[in-house]
C-alpha cells in the first residue's frame, strides 16, 4: 500500500503541477512554449512505441505531423467544419499514411527502412508544396481557428495549453496501458528477435502495421494541435529537420520507456526557446542558440550515445537499481 502510494505520488504531483500551470504562469509566451512541449510529448510517445518498444525506425515522421496539420487545417478553414471534425480527419488521414509507410517496413530493416521512411517524408513534403488547392502550396494555409466545441473556445495561451496537456496526459495513460500488457510485450519481443517473436505465435506483419499506424496517428493528432495553436501551417515546418529532432528525442529518451522520451522531448523542445525559461537571457545568446540549434541536437545525441547509451530511461533505471541495492 505504502509502495503503491510512493509510486503514484510523483505522477499525481506532476499532473497537478501541469494542470495548475496557468494559475501561476502569467507569461503568455512561456505558456505557448509549454504547449509546444505537450504537442511534442504526444508525437514522441508515438516515436517511443515505434522506436523504443518495437525497434523500428521512421525518418519520415514529420510527414504524419504535416498530414495531421493540413487535414485539420483544411477541414476547418476551406471546408468550414468544426474543430472536432478536423481532429478526426487528422486521425484518419495519418492512419492511412501509417499503413502505407508500414508496407515497406515489412520487407526492410535497419538502414534500408531508414532510407525508405526518409523517402516517404521527402515525398510528402513535396506533396504539401504541390497540392496547392488544399495546402496553399509554399505560401501555406492560414486562418486556422482555435479549437472550439460549440460556443466554448479554447484560445491560446491558456485554452490550448490545457487542451494540449489534457490530450498528452490521456495519450500517455492509454499508451502506458498498451506497453505494460500483451501488445507491449509483443513489441519488445519484435525488437529483441523477430525469429523468437514468430516462434511465440506473434504475427509480426500485423504487429508492425499496427505499431506504425498508432505512431502515425499520434503524430497526426500532434499536427492537428499544432495547426490550431499556431493558426498557420507551411511546408517548411514538416521537413527532414523535424524528423531528425523527433529521432533525437526518442534516442535521448532511451528505449523501452515512455517517461524517458517525454522528458527528453520536454528538454529538447525548450532549447530554441531558452529565453522562456531562463529570465534575462540576452537576445544575442538566444540568437546564437537558435542558429546552432541543429548542432546542439547533434552534439547531445553524440554525447548520449557515448556516455549514456540508455538515454534518460537508462539513467532512471540505474538510479532505481542503486536505490534498491542501498535499501
Amino acid at each position: 500500500m505504502r509502495a503503491k502510494l510512493l509510486r503514484f505520488t510523483p505522477m499525481a504531483l506532476i499532473t497537478l503541477a501541469i494542470a495548475a500551470g496557468p494559475l501561476f504562469i502569467d507569461d503568455r509566451y512561456l505558456l505557448k512554449v509549454l504547449t509546444f512541449v505537450a504537442i511534442n510529448v504526444v508525437i514522441v510517445t508515438g516515436m517511443a512505441l515505434l522506436f523504443g518498444y518495437a525497434g523500428q525506425i521512421s525518418m519520415g515522421h514529420a510527414a504524419f505531423y504535416g498530414i495531421g496539420a493540413y487535414a485539420s487545417g483544411y477541414a476547418t478553414t476551406t471546408l468550414g467544419l468544426p474543430w472536432i471534425v478536423g481532429l478526426f480527419a487528422a486521425i484518419v488521414f495519418s492512419a492511412v499514411g501509417g499503413v502505407l509507410l508500414a508496407l515497406p517496413s515489412l520487407r526492410l530493416k535497419g538502414h534500408y527502412l531508414a532510407m525508405a521512411t526518409l523517402g516517404f517524408g521527402e515525398l510528402m513534403k513535396i506533396a504539401f508544396i504541390e497540392a496547392q488547392p488544399i495546402t496553399g502550396g509554399p505560401d501555406g494555409l492560414g486562418g486556422i481557428p482555435y479549437p472550439r466545441i460549440g460556443s466554448f473556445e479554447m484560445a491560446a495561451p491558456v485554452g490550448t495549453y490545457l487542451l494540449a496537456w489534457g490530450i498528452a496526459g490521456l495519450v500517455l495513460l492509454l499508451v502506458r496501458n498498451v506497453v505494460t500488457q500483451r501488445p507491449g510485450r509483443a513489441m519488445r519481443a519484435l525488437h529483441g528477435s523477430e525469429l523468437g517473436a514468430m516462434a511465440c505465435g506473434i504475427d509480426i506483419v500485423g504487429l508492425k502495421v499496427r505499431v506504425f499506424t498508432v505512431s502515425a496517428v499520434l503524430a497526426g493528432i500532434a499536427g492537428s494541435l499544432y495547426a490550431h495553436l499556431v493558426g498557420f501551417v507551411s511546408p517548411s515546418t514538416f521537413s527532414l529537420h523535424l524528423s531528425v529532432i523527433l529521432i533525437a528525442m526518442a534516442v535521448v529518451g532511451g528505449s523501452g520507456s515512455l517517461a524517458g522520451p517525454a522528458i527528453a522531448a520536454t528538454l529538447l523542445t525548450l532549447v530554441p526557446f531558452a529565453d522562456a525559461i531562463i529570465p534575462g537571457l540576452s537576445r544575442d545568446a538566444l540568437a546564437l542558440i537558435q542558429d546552432w540549434e541543429a548542432d546542439v541536437y547533434g552534439l547531445i545525441i553524440i554525447l548520449v550515445m557515448l556516455f549514456a547509451p540508455g538515454g534518460v530511461s537508462g539513467f532512471m533505471r540505474r538510479r532505481r537499481a542503486v536505490a534498491r541495492d542501498a535499501s
Partner: protein, 256 residues
C-alpha cells in the same frame, strides 16, 4: 496414431538439395530424435516443419490436416512450438517476460483492449503470469524469473527457451540442438526436463548432436545424411546400422 506426417519433403537452395525426399512419422507421446553429420539438412528440415521455410516438394501434416504453407505464427497456433539452434531469446526482457511472450498465442488482449483496460484484460494478464511462473518452475528457473535473459548462463538460457516454447501450449515441440554447449550436469537437467514435458503430454522432436542424450531419451531416431534419410528406428538398432556408422565415421561398413 501419428501426430506429424512428413511426406516426400524436398528443399533445394539453387543447385544444393538440402533436404531430399524425406518421409517419416512422429507418434503421439513419443520423443523422436533427428541426427546426422553437419550439413545433413536437419535445421532446414526443422524450418520446413515449423513454417519458417517452405518445401519445394512434399507435404507436412499435423493431426491429419496439412501444415505446409502456413506462416510460422499460425503453425504455433495450431500447436507446434520450436526452439532454435542459436537461442532466440528477448535479451532485455526478464525470464518471466520471455515466457509471458510465449503466452501471446493463447491470449487475446489487443491494442484497444489494453489501452482502455477493458474487462477481462486484468484477469487474462494474471492467469498468463501464473502459467508463466508454473513453467519457469517446471524447468527449474524460478529463481531467475526477474533476471534479464542476457544475464543468464548459457545452459539456463536453453531451458528458458524451452519454457517459452511450452508457454505457447503446444501438442508437438521441436527442439533444435537443446544440449549444444551444455556441460554434463546441465545436460542431465535438460533430460529430466524433457521427460517431464513428455509426461505432461507434449510430443517431442529433437535435433541433437549429443549421442549420449539421444540414445538415452529417444524412442525413435531418424538419421539424415546429405539431405536424405538413411535410417530410422529405435536407438538400439540405429547404433548398429552400417549406413549410419559409415556416415558418421566415414568408413565403408564392409571394411570391418
Amino acid at each position: 496414431m501419428s501426430l506429424l506426417e512428413v511426406r516426400d519433403v524436398t528443399r533445394r537452395f539453387g543447385g544444393l538439395t538440402a533436404v531430399d525426399n524425406v518421409s517419416f512419422d512422429v507418434h503421439e507421446g513419443s520423443i523422436k530424435a533427428i541426427i546426422g553429420p553437419n550439413g545433413a539438412g536437419k535445421s532446414t528440415l526443422f524450418n520446413v516443419l515449423t513454417g519458417f521455410d517452405q518445401p519445394c516438394e512434399g507435404t507436412v501434416s499435423f493431426k491429419g490436416s496439412e501444415l505446409t504453407g502456413e506462416r510460422p505464427h499460425k503453425v504455433v497456433l495450431r500447436g507446434v512450438a520450436r526452439t532454435f539452434q542459436n537461442t532466440q531469446l528477448f535479451e532485455e526482457m526478464t525470464a518471466l517476460e520471455n515466457v509471458l511472450v510465449g503466452r501471446h498465442a493463447r491470449t487475446k488482449t489487443g491494442f484497444l483492449a489494453a489501452a482502455l483496460r477493458l474487462p477481462g484484460t486484468r484477469s487474462e494478464e494474471r492467469l498468463a503470469r501464473q502459467e508463466a511462473e508454473r513453467l519457469l518452475r517446471l524447468v527449474g528457473l524460478e529463481e531467475w524469473s526477474e533476471s534479464p535473459a542476457a544475464d543468464m548462463p548459457h545452459g539456463l538460457r536453453r531451458l528458458l527457451e524451452i519454457a517459452r516454447a511450452l508457454a505457447t501450449g503446444p501438442t508437438l515441440m521441436l527442439l533444435d540442438e537443446p544440449a549444444a554447449g551444455l556441460n554434463n550436469s546441465e545436460t542431465s537437467r535438460l533430460a529430466d526436463a524433457l521427460y517431464r514435458i513428455r509426461d505432461a503430454g507434449v510430443t517431442l522432436v529433437v535435433v541433437e548432436h549429443d549421442m549420449g542424450l539421444v540414445m538415452e531419451i529417444s524412442d525413435e531416431i531418424v538419421v539424415l545424411d546429405r539431405g536424405s534419410k538413411i535410417a530410422e528406428g529405435p536407438p538400439r538398432l540405429i547404433q548398429k546400422d552400417p549406413e549410419v556408422l559409415r556416415a558418421y565415421l566415414g568408413q565403408e561398413a564392409d571394411d570391418e
